[in-house]
């Protein structure tokens, strides 16, 4: 949905003076996220000394690592000017198909393949509707959000499907003392951060989000890039779905329900501009940690889940308001 713009006053403008370096470095949403993160850790360690224990934080992170991994790719989708609300449902459907295949007697690698392929196919359906048919991603992914979750419900019914012991426990597995999901998240952050920040492909994503028509005239294959992003979104969601299945040891149709809030929140809190063209992986990376501190803090402080729902909802709105204000101050 395009913002409603007031009529531009055609005043002749000279080149604006360049902003000083400290201004460029400091006045940006990621600074806000980092400040909030530091503040969060300080407040949380007042509540409970556990928060100064890195192992405790790492362990807590495994609970939202799946959403955080998806949020990294979602950041790129939002920078390109689109949105995807379906990944949480995608997680549920691919995990259900995976568990269903196992139950039907498929060997483990085949079942994993089924899950990942299903995720990719769901991403492809989104891409077809949004890029192929030029429909707005907002409403398409509201539709697929409902459809994918509904199909998961058709497959799994109201029962939960157990996954075999051998597949469980990705969250407790440690590598170099760090839980595997956290490692995956960090590795993906690094990789996507480099792709987005240091490659031509990454710069093209920003250009598409800033002005798609200009990008196309400049020879950027915007349709191909966006298709790729939605496919990546589908695949990563499926991986996240399988990781969740491994952590929980069973699969239900309501796996990850409402997760779109947390994913969008991570991207927004990290300073991704909702209208596209701005944002960084670093921001989302910091925001994921911030969110873990906040949610774990609320759990430790024994708040009801309902309060957490309220806090997350309010945070989402505050973060887009703040990000918008910061970006409007630093108009390019």
């Amino acid at each position: 949905m395009s913002p409603i713009e007031s009529p531009a006053v055609a005043a002749p403008r000279g080149a604006a003076p360049a902003r000083p370096m400290w201004h460029v470095m400091l006045v940006r949403p990621e600074t806000m996220t980092l400040a909030l993160l530091v503040l969060g850790v300080l407040v949380a360690s007042e509540i409970s000394p556990y928060f100064l224990d890195i192992r405790y934080i790492l362990k807590s992170f495994t609970l939202s690592a799946e959403f955080a991994i998806v949020a990294l790719v979602l950041t790129m989708v939002i920078i390109s000017g689109e949105i995807d609300l379906s990944p949480a449902s995608n997680m549920a459907l691919s995990a259900c198909l995976f568990a269903y295949a196992l139950q039907a007697g498929a060997p483990m690698p085949l079942a994993i393949g089924v899950g990942l392929l299903a995720g990719l196919a769901m991403g492809a359906l989104n891409a077809f509707m949004i890029i192929g048919l030029q429909l707005p991603s907002i409403i398409v992914t509201i539709g697929t959000l409902t459809l994918y979750r509904g199909l998961a419900q058709v497959i799994a019914g109201d029962k939960s499907i157990r996954v075999p012991e051998s597949f469980t426990g990705v969250d407790t597995a440690l590598l170099l003392g760090v839980p595997v999901p956290v490692l995956i998240f960090m590795a993906l952050s690094l990789a996507l951060g480099l792709v987005l920040g240091a490659t031509i492909f990454g710069r093209q994503i920003y250009l598409i989000g800033t002005n798609e028509i200009a990008a196309r005239h400049a020879g950027v294959r915007s349709r191909r890039i966006k298709t790729f992003l939605f496919l990546a979104m589908g695949l990563v969601s499926a991986v996240a779905g399988l990781m969740t299945a491994s952590r929980l040891g069973s699969v239900r149709y309501d796996l990850g329900i409402g997760g779109e809030l947390q994913m969008v929140l991570m991207a927004m809190l990290g300073g991704t501009y909702i209208f596209g063209g701005r944002g960084t992986i670093l921001g989302t990376f910091l925001a994921a940690w911030l969110l873990v501190i906040v949610t774990t803090g609320m759990i430790v402080a024994d708040w009801l889940p309902a309060y957490q729902l309220c806090v997350l909802g309010v945070l989402l709105i505050l973060s887009i308001v703040a990000t918008n204000i910061i970006y409007s101050r630093t108009e390019r």
């Binding site: 949905m1 509201i142 459809l147 969008v264 989402l316 709105i317």
Partner: protein, 329 residues
């Protein structure tokens, strides 16, 4: 103008044909479906969706979307339910005032954030969807309002009828649809919603107060969800903090888009939306008859949204309004 009205006519005729074909197909398998009994069932399924859909239609015509209506329905139903439970001495129709009033306020809050900070409604209402649901839990202490607390007179509105054997709740939803028709077709501000949705840049230049119209559509959407909230208590006789209204938004959006309301704004009519609601009601009523488990409902709503988008796309391609004008929306 003539071309557009013909296009709309075709769209609404199309939905009617779909409803007829669907009913005949189901009736061929289960003749029982074509009796007055099931008409009654269908009509009892639609009122809440119809109320929500009228509000959502105006929001989408104005080029926004409201995802929080299910949570508003839950919160307002809970507010009235708690009034019935803890203050049984209060005259029960005040529940309507309470629910509609709170609904309007919550909708106004959505609209205020969207318009004053110029934010996309989808993200704002995704936030308030969770916020309002959380508030519902907090104020109710996560406890359900059971049947015995809901006033008998209120529950009777879903069963007894003042005229022709049609229950109050159905008459009310039709009244809402008629009022919406009058409002969007015959009042200045109603037409302004369409003007704003057709071209948000041109609308303020023609003297339309964009802030006012935006606040109004969100407030109306909230108020109608509030009305749906109290009618939920009437229809089902209980209010549950987690179930009441959950997923309502998808059902309503599905009905609205199948009813021909364009997601690009500016296009949509009350009759089409009402027919969309009716079509979904027929589908929902047919499922148990055909022995299809209720767990398929969400998948069907999702498929309906996507199918409606495809139809919308085809219609637009034939019409004058090409995608090229919109550019990359």
């Amino acid at each position: 103008m003539n071309r557009i009205s013909r296009l709309l006519l075709r769209r609404e005729a199309g939905i009617l044909v779909m409803i007829a074909l669907f009913c005949l197909a189901v009736g061929a398998v289960k003749p029982h479906f074509l009796t007055l009994d099931s008409l009654q069932i269908v009509l009892l399924l639609v009122p809440l969706t119809l109320m929500g859909a009228m509000g959502q239609m105006m929001v989408i015509v104005a080029r926004h979307v409201d995802l929080s209506i299910g949570s508003i329905l839950g919160l307002t139903a809970m507010a009235s339910g708690m009034m019935f439970r803890y203050h049984p001495e209060v005259w029960w129709p005040l529940g309507f005032v309470l629910s509609i009033g709170i609904g309007a306020l919550l909708g106004l809050a959505n609209g205020a954030v969207v318009t004053f900070f110029r934010l996309p409604a989808i993200i704002v209402t995704l936030g308030t969807l969770n916020l309002y649901r959380g508030l519902t839990f907090i104020m109710s202490n996560a406890k359900q309002i059971d049947r015995q607390y809901v006033p008998v007179e209120l529950k009777a509105m879903s069963q007894t009828s003042p005229i022709f054997g049609i229950p109050w709740i159905i008459l009310m939803s039709f009244a809402v649809a008629l009022a919406t028709y009058y409002f969007v077709m015959h009042t200045r501000i109603g037409r302004q919603i369409y003007a704003l949705g057709s071209n948000p840049v041109a609308a303020p230049l023609r003297g339309i107060d964009v802030t006012k119209v935006t606040l109004l559509v969100f407030t109306l959407s909230g108020a109608l969800s509030g009305l749906a909230g109290i009618m939920y208590a009437s229809r089902w006789g209980f209010v549950n903090p987690s179930n009441t209204g959950a997923g309502f938004e998808f059902q309503v959006i599905a009905a609205v888009v199948i009813g021909g309301v364009s997601i690009n704004g500016g296009v949509g009519a009350v009759l089409g939306t009402a027919l969309g609601v009716l079509l979904l009601g027929c589908v929902a009523a047919a499922l148990p008859l055909l022995g299809i488990p209720g767990t398929t409902q969400n998948a069907i709503y999702g498929a309906v949204i996507l199918a409606a988008l495809l139809i919308d796309r085809l219609v637009r391609r034939q019409g004058q309004r090409g995608a090229a004008i919109r550019g990359a929306a």
